[in-house]
Symmetry: C2
Subunit: 166 residues, 2 copies
DNA sequence: CATATATGTCAATATGACTGACATAAAATC
DNA sequence: GATTTTATGTCAGTCATATTGACATATATG
């Protein structure tokens, strides 16, 4: 059974476990964004452009509203980013067919190429971590991260907790 | 055996797996910082202050150099943050005993209290995700995140991949 | 004494976010 | 058809976080 001393130890260990999780997230996220940031800097773009390009590439024809809801930033913030991507020829807009107020966003070939370059760096890094850790660890990784999400974000990943089987 | 079609499927699934990992990290990190950011905003502070407070709390007596190396920002960036924390009475400095050029940083009681409030939000969130996912998943979570780190950051977590046993 | 190190500071700049206000076009509703 | 709501864009001002580059000071070290 647990005497007082080992309960204290248990509390310290739990605290230590949680702090390690906090720190791992911080350091891993920093590392995760470092490479794309370096590529973007050479083009005079920033991380915000990567996010926009990423989600436009992920869902071709996404509306501005949907993109705003995904990124959870103000339209004024997105506006500048989107304007630069349009001017740079990375993204094109088209009026929606059923609702012509909508501006449906798509990557150009140039945009697709940039998205590939940016995301490849992250994909390689994740792929390496997945390979080293193994399938079981990847499932755990996903479970814990999914548990950190709020309800709205979790809906994006329904049925995606387990790794797809090849 | 694998015919062409299922190989294509396999590639798509792998791509999908990796993109889900990328997105989970993005959404989870955003969620993870949301609560502390809200608390900090009320005090006229920002996320950078949380980071400084966190690592000073984590290692009382840390030097400015060590903090800079941990955060990987310029001293000019840290300077402003640290000045505000000193002025706000969250942090105190003391000259090092063996090297009096050093400014050893410590949280005041007020700083400890703020650190607790800020980190508690994150700790609760992680604790909930850990509980829901289970010990095995937590181990996997740590393995994958550790795999994302660069060599320097990984050294911070040597022997910490597995969850401590109670 | 000369040099290197730990720290601090001034100035200018960039990025990414915010709030608030206002504008326009198109859809939806009464 | 007139009104209202929605989707989007834009102007202006502000803030927080980061950068580079240059320079200053105190202390340690050879």
């Amino acid at each position: 059974m647990t005497d007082i001393k080992s309960e204290v130890d248990g509390l310290c260990r739990e605290e230590e476990d949680l702090r390690q999780g906090i720190e791992l997230l911080y350091f891993a996220y920093r590392e995760f964004t470092a490479e794309p940031d370096a590529i973007l800097a050479q083009l005079g773009l920033g991380r915000a452009h990567h996010r926009a390009i990423y989600f436009i590439g992920r869902r071709a024809g996404i509306t501005v509203s949907e993109l705003l809801a995904t990124l959870r930033i103000t339209k004024q913030s997105l506006s500048r980013v989107l304007k630069q991507l349009l001017q740079g020829g990375f993204v094109i807009q088209a009026a929606g067919a059923s609702d012509r107020r909508q501006r449906l966003l798509r990557l150009t070939d140039k945009g697709i190429e940039l998205e590939r370059r940016l995301t490849e760096a992250q994909r390689n890094r994740i792929a390496k971590a997945y390979r080293e850790a193994g399938d079981e660890a990847v499932t755990g990784f996903r479970q814990v991260l999914t548990g950190l999400l709020d309800a709205a974000d979790r809906r994006r990943f329904v049925g995606a907790t387990k790794r797809s089987q090849a």
